[in-house]
Assembly symmetry: C2
Homo-oligomer: 201 residues x 2
């Protein structure tokens, strides 16, 4: 799903176009973060990147496709999740999943663009579809595959639901005492739940 290879014919040179493409992608992340999916526009992204709108379409296609690639960039850290989660003793799976996902949210650098993606996905069906595809394909399905059970996908989703609910209430709604609670306290509470969902009877 890198896109550049498929759509990159006719580019001036490999290096120059890679730079332009990255600049557009960075501008897109910024635009989607600040304005959300609905208000963001290809023209706005082009302006911010200092290129013509046609070049944005050339590299990425439609606004939905630019969004998809911007979100993929945001999701890149989550790609490592399945490896991280299953590296180590089986009884630590829950804690490693909790620590990994909350860690992404705890760090402002990874939190800000993720927050923008979540906001877009909650308010716009197109953005929700992109989010759904990515979360399913790149995060939950690989986790489920490692579990190797018939109901593994539902298990992975229920485990993720606990963590998603915590991140939403802690970082988005900022409900107290959860918002100010120590990360380790939260992990101690949710790790057994995540473990139970993933590997329980």
């Amino acid at each position: 799903m890198t896109g550049a290879t498929a759509r990159g014919r006719g580019r001036p040179s490999r290096t120059e176009s890679a730079g332009t493409r990255d600049r557009i992608l960075a501008a897109a992340r910024e635009e989607f973060s600040e304005r959300g999916y609905e208000k963001a526009s290809v023209r706005g992204i082009a302006n911010a990147a200092g290129v013509d709108s046609a070049l944005v379409h050339h590299y990425f296609g439609t606004k939905e496709q630019v969004f998809q690639e911007a979100v993929e960039a945001v999701f890149a850290p989550a790609l490592k999740a399945p490896d991280v989660i299953f590296e180590g003793p089986a009884e630590g799976v829950g804690e490693r999943f909790a620590r990994f996902l909350l860690g992404i949210w705890e760090n402002p650098v990874t939190r800000t663009p993720l927050l923008a993606v979540v906001r877009s996905a909650v308010t716009n069906e197109m953005a929700a579809a992109v989010f759904r595809r990515l979360v399913a394909a790149q995060l939950l399905r690989p986790v489920a595959a490692q579990l190797g059970r018939s109901d593994a996908e539902l298990r992975a989703e229920l485990a993720a639901a606990q963590l998603v609910g915590v991140t939403l209430m802690r970082y988005v709604i900022k409900l107290e005492p959860l918002a100010s609670a120590d990360m380790e306290v939260i992990i101690r509470r949710v790790a057994p739940v995540v473990q139970e969902h993933l590997t329980g009877p």
Copy 2:
């Protein structure tokens, strides 16, 4: 927090004003549901209710206050939660909480306005503050009070987080297989988790 009593001086008659007030509130729920907090306007609410904007301000005050009252109406079913949850044997608390909250989301009549509130709260800080106050005051704090432990509020929030995550992934993002899973299957999986958060060691 009914507002009408405090702000209702100078109304033409008790019956007529109650009718007008309810009509404005219904229009506000509609407007916030369709357009979200940010795009909704007092003028739009007034138009939909067939009254002057001044009358909306007279009854409710600012847009934030209209939103708060509209959300309170949406939250009315949740007011019953603490009673419902703690009515019956202690070991059924988790299941009753899960069944109650998922039941509100499963019913399209209660889901639609709730969805609008959640969307507004996720994208707008003012709406988040209203959501935070109501969820904390009317749902989680009464539940925590019944638990009567020092960390009861955090427990109630972590239990709610599991359910909020499930509702978000099932009804908003519509991630499969969770979106199509049988309600009873989900309750069977999350009830022990909610129970553990609320009453576990």
